[in-house]
Amino acid sequence: MDTALIPEGVKRCPAWQFILWIGLVGVVLLWGVYAMLLCWIKGLNQTNMNNAYGFALWIWADLAIIALGGGAFFTGLLKYIMGKDQLKNIINYAVLIGFICYSSALLILAIDIGQPLRGWFIFWHANVHSMLTEVAFCLTCYFGVLCIEYLPLVLENRQVDRVPFFHNLTHNMHEIMAVFAATGAFLSFFHQGSLGGVAGVLFARPFGYRTGVLVWPWTFFLFTWSAAACGPCFTIFITKLTEKIVRKKLVQDNVIELLAKIAGWMLATYVIAKIFDTAYWAFVTAPSKGFTVSDFYTGNPGSIYGYWILVMEIVVCGVLPAAILITDKGRKTQATLWLAVILAAVGVCLNRWVMVLQVLAVPVLTFESWATYFPSWQEIATTILPVAYGVILISLSYRYLPVFPQEKELNPMVSPHTPEGRAEPQASPASPEPALSPAES
């Protein structure tokens, strides 16, 4: 039915199977859209947020998916600026994942604000001292960059590519992509950092507040660092997961291992910095405000915010995956590689959770107690909504676009006309640059 749209030389599941899959995920998507409309029409009383928890699940989701989407800018930086050319085999997917993460973050922000129609005020009445202003500007600009980075892939669809204008446009965009990769890295540094600054500058919230350099608290740098470390881990995780689902190899191991090695060293250095930051905060910053570490981690209902969360974030989801990824054996063993990338992704999500939720949960006034919160189904549905949207966009992109340059090489199609059923090469994988001519010419 849709064979003409599927890239040449690759095999895809039957159309009915694909439609069924999209339909199932679409139901989840519609559930999220329904919750989103409820929030827009009836207001934020549909949530379980309150005056103690002005920031909650959505802001966490924003921070987490932007960190996980950090694979796009960092892989782009490595490929286009640092010259790690091998990563061209995974950069498309990293960009796609980044595009999904950032568009989702913008959508969640649009739901999260009390007056969505006034969202543009953040640009029009911008307060240059606010970290959120920096987030809004850099995030919006970077989303534009991601659109530009994703566009050539869309234009490489078999039918679109037949149009000479689009074919040439794609070629020319590839030529100048380094400029956008550099712009993306620059913007990402600032918005990942300013997201870290969101909690870090709150000098009246001792759990979140950090000292720093000039106007930037240490969390500014730690957030960028952790996104550069854990974003690629998430890219690897989604790549491996996609390979499991479609039951074929899509990216060669040496590419994954290179990205894992770099991410591992980033994670290792990040964890060291994070340990220093935590120690300074615990023994210098917090006591100067009259708090001890035990004030932050004890006495809360159900020990939701106990010391375990600190150990989990730094040791289990930081030191352990870093130790795995910086060793050759750890990266080459599939089980440990899976474990490491999952732990790294969980770790960065956990970090964002505490830097949003725990900041607000810790009582500051001596006569107040810990605030508790559990999201409403509308909040959960609207947070799952981007996941469903992401699954659909990945499914469509995988089916109709040449996302994985190595797919044909790694999965040669067996032609019935080939003697002895041997693999028939469909295209030369070694060819670095396709001929500059329309596909049908």
Binding site: I113, G114, F203, S288
Partner: protein, 267 residues
Amino acid sequence: MKHANAKKFGMVIDLDKCTGCGSCMVACMAENNVPFREDETDKLLSLSWMRVYRLTNGKPFPDTEECYLPRPCMQCEGHHGHSPCVSVCPATATDYDTNTGIVSQIYTRCFGCRYCMAACPYHVRLFNWWDPVWPDGMEKSLNPNVSVRMRGVVEKCSFCIHRYQQAMDKAFVEGRRELEEDEYQTACTQACPAGAITFGDLNNPEHAVYQMVQPDAQHEGRPENPTAFRLLERLGTNPKIYYLSRREWVRRAGDNYLARESQSHAG
């Protein structure tokens, strides 16, 4: 107007006089058109610009003591107007007025991101989770000088700024530039039956608030009166609400201290 000559409106609340009657809360709600709902059991969803806390010394009978602590907006100055909420608002919907020392809130510019709520440790910033609905007929008793707020924006105590504006208008008409101390008073101050709340200009040595706390301008308004204190002063918020109490445990409840620290020696 130079900041040195500017007003710095502030409040002194004598906790040893406060009976916890809640008149200040009621007066505030009526004066400022603060909406309410039929079910107000969840106080974390309530809009109370002025909230009265009940504190206890935690000791068993017969040594139990209680104290009621009214908490309006602290109108923090921070360092040079860098108050916790003002600096974070991405749309400049809240501002520190160096002429009055009042932290404003522009409802029509706020787009409801709630970053200011996250920044405020006093929980004085409140979100309109619902559109205001007034019982039949009550809309006729709303204060015409205060705009009602719509769903999706943040609001907070304004030190009854409309009263200041009205008093200044009257003074200008009469050819004056300065207000008498009693010309601008907040609703909560006037409503307190125990006379526990005093309001005035902390920059003016003739005003009662100045004389009661003796703010040290060299140290960001730190009170020289040993029975006066401010909430969470150690965080650097530099609030303009001062509390008075002769009871040491009450004063200590105003801030966080390490076990080894005494109140007077804390940084």
